[in-house]
């Protein structure tokens, strides 16, 4: 490395100028190893989250109570698979290997969003996931549309567009259910109670406990702190809850006219740590499901590869 110090230093300054100017880093551009590693890790975790995130909602596709909802839900879960695909592609532009990332996921070496380690217990959960979980995801992701790495930013633009669509659909389902029977209103309230705190945890630990934030912000990978995003989400969501007619399960939640924001209680960070470290209600189930799908499908992928290799050899033989 030392022999290339000068050009490397030049490249690094170039990189920093690009980032500072809010321009995009592209796959062929030079980038610091730490930037590359951070991005691969972050995008892979995001991809894993989309893939694991298919399960909680996928759990209701075969049982959706109307054909319209069945179609909406199937399309949504399909979109999540699609998001996973774009994001894995973005990691490939950074030199990562999808098969390896998948192994990292199923062997528990890389994380995915902990929110998916909670079960979906009623059809209202489908709506609440759209409203709260997709809502929180959008808060997290909108700034990523301006992230410094080009392929990631472009993937996020597409993903955010689809997620807002999902969020509106989720909220609309809940609105419909709230206009329905007493039991349906109970289901919506119950699902809200179960998903509210985990949704707040989606923004990560409080800023004081978030060691990677500063570097990521300098690199323009990240643009807001966890607590800023969390506040934004709460401020956005409280009026939506009111319109819906559900109570958010936080007795400390109230408008603070001085701050111009809602005050809210402290999530149970001990629970957060347990779930992140593998002890949520569904961690084992989600990973086992993914692992089984991957292993059961191995013979198919092998067959496709063998077939492609043979065809390609034939074409070369013919040429």
């Amino acid at each position: 490395m030392s022999e290339r110090t000068t050009p490397e230093g030049e490249l690094e300054r170039q990189f920093e100028r690009t980032v500072a100017a809010e321009a995009r880093i592209e796959p062929r551009d030079w980038m610091p190893d730490g930037y590359r590693r951070t991005l691969i890790r972050q995008i892979a975790q995001h991809a894993h989250s989309e893939i694991i995130g298919m399960q909680p909602e996928g759990n209701w596709i075969t049982r959706a109570p109307s054909l319209r909802r069945k179609a909406i839900l199937l399309a949504k879960v399909q979109d999540e698979a699609g998001h996973g695909l774009y994001l894995y592609s973005a990691t490939e532009t950074l030199g990562a290997d999808r098969e390896e990332l998948t192994r990292n996921l199923i062997e528990g070496r890389q994380k995915y969003s902990s929110i998916f380690n909670y079960p979906t217990l009623t059809f209202a959960d489908v709506g609440v996931i759209g409203w709260l979980v997709d809502g929180a995801a959008i808060c997290n992701q909108v700034p990523l549309c301006r992230t410094s790495y080009g392929p990631y930013a472009r993937a996020m633009i597409r993903i955010c567009k689809e997620e807002s669509f999902h969020q509106r659909q989720g909220y609309e389902l809940l609105m419909t259910m709230m206009r329905g029977t007493e039991e349906q209103r109970r289901m919506v309230q119950d699902a809200t109670n179960r998903w509210w705190w985990p949704s707040l945890m989606m923004f990560g630990p409080p800023d004081g406990d978030s060691p990677n934030t500063r570097q990521s912000m300098a690199w323009r990978i990240k643009r807001h702190t966890n607590d800023e995003l969390r506040q934004k989400f709460v401020d956005m969501t409280v009026p939506q809850a009111e319109r819906l007619g559900v109570t958010l399960p936080d007795p400390e939640l109230r408008w603070n006219p001085e701050r111009g924001h809602y005050d809210f209680g402290t999530p149970d960070w001990a629970e957060f740590k347990r779930v992140v470290s593998g002890d949520g209600p569904c961690n084992a189930q989600r990973l086992a499901h993914r692992r089984k799908a991957h292993e059961d499908g191995a013979w198919v992928r092998e067959a496709a590869a063998a077939y492609a290799a043979r065809r390609s050899a034939e074409r070369k033989g013919a040429a």
């Binding site: 075969t62 199937l74 059961d296 198919v300």
Partner: protein
């Protein structure tokens, strides 16, 4: 109108039940691309079923299941509140071809190949149906089915001509679905009556066309037509008569349970 009602159900039930089976794969497919593809096919089929049910409800309101609250649209009344014996789908679409224990991806592809080749031939004819809704559903459907058939054919080639294991599984998958093939070409009296007035197509007229397609795909994939005998009907009755396999009851229980548990609910 009772005939047209029944015919819309036949076409709609084939699509809905297979969509339900394909949805079972969601998050379980061998690769993400296939999760996307199978969901897409399921969505196309759901999209065909819905206007067919609506049409059924429109032409023959007496066919709507009794006791379903009025706010439930016809499509849902028909999909969620009919009992097993009132479902008119062919038995091919209801059997477990995976991801359940009854099959695997190869059996799913084998079924999709057979089903889409057959339904493409059927919808092609229905594009000129004298019923405008059937004609419209068919016109949209032929494009979709052409893609489904192509997708299934591509996989049949890959699996038939992939590895030893995939070849073995594809042979088994074909053997799973082939006994259900004959039923696709047996004309129900409703179909015959409606074929005379240009509303429906006589499925028995599709056999040679479908056979040719299947033979072509199998030959290119290095696979033989399975030598299996057709699955017998029960006292002469099969799917189109509302007589199904034992798999159907479980499928409907899962699909209809929530809707039936809360009939007054609004979704």
């Amino acid at each position: 109108p009772a005939d047209l009602f029944a015919y819309c159900l036949m076409l709609g039930d084939d699509a809905l039940v297979l969509a339900q089976r394909l949805a079972e794969w969601c998050s379980r497919a061998p690769e993400l691309e296939e999760d996307v593809a199978l969901a897409n096919i399921g969505l196309d089929l759901l999209g065909q079923a819905r206007p067919l049910y609506t049409r059924a409800g429109e032409v023959y309101p007496a066919g709507r299941p009794a006791g379903v609250p009025r706010h439930v649209p016809d499509e849902d009344a028909l999909a969620y509140f009919r009992d097993e014996h009132a479902f008119r789908n062919v038995r091919l679409v209801e059997i477990d071809c995976g991801p359940g224990p009854g099959g695997d991806f190869a059996a799913t592809i084998a079924r999709l190949l057979v089903f889409s080749s057959w339904r493409l031939a059927l919808l092609s004819r229905l594009t000129s149906s004298t019923d405008p809704v059937l004609a419209a559903v068919a016109a949209k459907g032929v494009k979709e089915l052409a893609y489904h058939r192509d997708h299934a054919a591509q996989w049949t080639l890959r699996l038939g001509d992939g590895t030893e294991e995939s070849h073995r599984r594809m042979v088994a998958g074909l053997a799973t679905v082939w006994p259900l093939l004959d039923e696709l070409f047996i004309a129900h009296p409703v179909e015959l009556r409606l074929a005379e007035t240009g509303v429906a197509a006589d499925p028995s007229a599709l056999e040679s066309e479908v056979d040719e397609v299947l033979d072509q795909v199998l030959a290119r994939a290095g696979l033989d037509r399975p030598e299996v005998r057709p699955l017998a009907p029960v006292g002469g009755r099969a799917g189109r008569d509302g007589v199904h396999t034992e798999a159907m009851g479980y499928l409907l229980a899962e699909m209809q349970y929530l809707a039936r548990s809360q009939p007054e609910a609004v979704w």
